[in-house]
């Protein structure tokens, strides 16, 4: 079994490591305080080719493998989880619906600027009353005057409200609310479209640099060519194609775990109590050994899911398992790493405290872990 990266994947990792350490990590502390989406860094990442990482070259991307994306995420996420979160939302759910279901005119118009890093992509699925129950969305799109009239509200939408955002691709039901088996479709709504407004940037426990908002659609009319894909395609089929987002959150979790492990090891070797570095005490050693072991377990679940996607094989179960395992490991490891740091680790001046705050959302976003359990259980025949 060959688990080594290819030459282009290694080149990509080197780019990401260099950029992440020289440009992103050094700003992480200030970015936390600023609590603003660092679009200047995202634009620079666009110039490197990173914003089109999963998009074919034909549409302005670099056509990287999923495995390469995971490896790149390990580097970016270690430097700053907010930047990594904005990046992954852009490259997965922000770009893939256009890439996979858009026609060529739509790809040229909206996907290419995203892939070339000139704009930031967002996807609107979640609503105040529809989170895990995606089928419960109430945003509607009705045929009107040769186009579609959209009404509704979206919650926790990332990347739609920055100075680099082009708008949002949103999911809406195209049949009336009373229809029992409604059809769904996605639409592009560009910013500044009349009736499209948004709330203020929400403040999370972590991911402080991620721009997350509520979006409001009041009689928003878009022409028919803003409809992306076929409303006849089932909702689950549509959402399944976005399952790479689970691999992406798993990779983000790996990066966080690696970061807190590195910080905890550094600290444990420096911190002297009872006359010796605390890394010499078994209580600390065992914690570090456990984190390192669990990280490796999560890592190979994630890379295997990525490999299966690249090989064109089913990866639904593996992606759910990777996301479930890696996010659990991340929140647990962050807590243990703070514990090793003691009081210092509780203070937001230390990177480990910030990673701790960033960790919880990994168990919630891109399908809660409860949903991952359901997905896995179904594949077991339940």
């Amino acid at each position: 079994m060959d688990l080594s990266l290819s030459e282009p994947e290694l080149d990509l990792v080197a780019i990401c490591r260099d950029f992440a350490q020289r440009e992103i990590a050094v700003r992480a502390a200030a970015a936390w305080e600023e609590a603003r989406c660092p679009t200047d860094l995202l634009r620079q990442m666009g110039e490197l080719g990173l914003l089109g990482i999963l998009v074919p070259e034909e549409w302005g991307g670099i056509g990287m493998s999923t495995v390469g994306f995971v490896a790149a995420m390990e580097e970016i996420g270690r430097a700053d989880q907010s930047v990594a979160a904005a990046w992954q939302a852009h490259v997965t759910i922000g770009s893939l619906p256009l890439c996979l279901f858009g026609d060529d005119a739509q790809r040229e118009r909206w996907l290419r600027p995203l892939a070339e890093g000139r704009a930031l992509g967002a996807f609107g699925l979640t609503e105040p009353e529809a989170g895990s129950d995606a089928r419960g969305i109430r945003t509607t799109a009705k045929r009107r005057d040769g186009g579609w009239l959209i009404n509704g509200r979206k919650a926790f939408i990332s990347n739609a409200g920055t100075d680099m955002s082009f708008g949002v691709t949103l999911l809406a039901r195209v049949d009336p609310l009373e229809e029992e088996e409604p059809r769904f479709a996605s639409f592009v709504v560009e910013k500044d479209t009349p009736g499209f407004t948004m709330g203020p940037k929400l403040r999370g426990i972590g991911w402080r640099g991620l721009d997350t908002r509520e979006l409001y659609f009041d009689d928003v009319w878009v022409p028919h060519d803003h409809l992306v894909g076929d409303p006849g395609m089932g909702l689950s089929q549509f959402l399944r194609t976005l399952e790479v987002g689970r691999i992406s959150i798993a990779a983000l979790s790996l990066s966080l775990t690696q970061a807190v492990l590195d910080l905890a090891i550094d600290y444990a070797r420096q911190r002297v109590q009872f006359g010796k570095p605390i890394s010499k005490f078994q209580a600390v050693q065992f914690k570090l050994a456990d984190i390192a072991t669990e990280l490796e377990a999560a890592r190979w679940l994630t890379y295997r899911a990525a490999y299966l996607r690249d090989a064109g094989r089913p990866f639904r179960k593996e992606a759910a398992m990777a996301k479930l395992k890696a996010s659990r490991v991340a929140t647990w490891a962050a807590s243990e790493a703070v514990q090793i740091h003691g009081g210092v680790g509780y203070m937001l001046e230390t990177p480990v405290a910030r990673f701790y705050c960033d960790s919880k959302v990994l168990e919630i976003g891109e399908g809660t872990n409860e949903i991952q359990h359901l997905v896995i259980a179904r594949t077991l025949g339940c």
Binding site: P8, D11, L12, I15, D18, F19, Q44, E47, L48, G49, L50, I62, M64
Partner: protein
């Protein structure tokens, strides 16, 4: 007017990795992988920006390195340079700055440059003499320590860094100019750039290809010999001052002593 811009780039041992001296020759051990000297990335960026302003302009890299080393050149090619000329020859080991200048001048001449850009000095050798030697050998004017470079394709306009400020200097092309770190902000090579760099042409030449004689270069041609090296003074531990209510005055006294205030 399209320009052919040549950039002298040095490939050096990674400054972040532990380095060693050859005990026999007292010169830097260059046997491992070499990387692009960071100080040359400014010259490469400057060249790319000047060439990018004029349709049809191109940037050619010129380097001398042992063992056919191209790792550093690939980095500069990934930034956007079109091609590279590498001079690599066993007889070049031991070359002093002047011998190196002769080799580079001969290689640069083949590229028929309108403008030659170099860093003010390398990060491993620090002689800072090579660019002006190259200019002299090529019979070209040289302008050093540029903090800003502009050209209309016929003349060069340079802001030359001085201790007090800067001089405005103009000279006709072709010319040699050395640029300081900070003249421009070097770009990061993009993924597409790195992929493209793998297939860009690198012409590898020997000393005889350049019409030079092995006796003029390397140990044989060196007029400079390193007779002795000594350890740099270890950084001292510093002085710990315990604040006994007079901390502020002690700090001020120290700053006055080192003439900072």
């Amino acid at each position: 007017m399209a320009m052919n811009v040549v950039v002298c780039v040095k490939q050096i041992p990674d400054p972040a990795a532990p380095s060693s001296l050859d005990p026999g020759t007292k010169t830097l051990n260059r046997s491992g992988k070499l990387i692009l000297d960071d100080s040359d990335s400014y010259g490469v960026e400057m060249a790319l920006q000047l060439a990018g302003n004029v349709e049809g302009s191109e940037v050619t890299l010129v380097s001398m390195a042992p063992g056919g080393e191209v790792s550093g050149l690939r980095t500069a090619l990934a930034m956007g340079a079109a091609r590279a000329i590498l001079v690599s020859d066993d007889s070049l080991a031991g070359s002093d700055a002047l011998s190196t200048a002769k080799v580079l001048a001969a290689a640069i001449r083949r590229a028929e440059p309108d403008l030659v850009i170099a860093a003010t000095e390398s990060t491993d050798g620090y002689t800072g003499t090579l660019p002006v030697q190259v200019a002299e050998l090529l019979g070209l004017p040289s302008v050093t320590f540029a903090k800003s470079v502009a050209t209309d394709g016929r003349n060069l306009k340079v802001e030359r860094q001085t201790e007090a400020g800067y001089d405005e200097v103009e000279c006709p092309l072709p010319a040699v100019v050395t640029v300081t770190a900070g003249v421009v902000e070097p770009r990061y090579p993009s993924f597409k750039g790195i992929m493209a760099a793998k297939s860009k042409p690198v012409e590898t030449l020997t000393v005889s290809d350049l019409g030079l004689d092995a006796s003029q270069v390397g140990w044989a041609g060196a007029r400079q010999e390193i007779t002795d090296v000594s350890e740099a003074e270890a950084r001292s531990a510093g002085e710990v001052v315990v604040d006994e209510g007079d901390g502020a005055e002690r700090i001020v006294a120290f700053l006055e002593q080192v003439k900072v205030v």
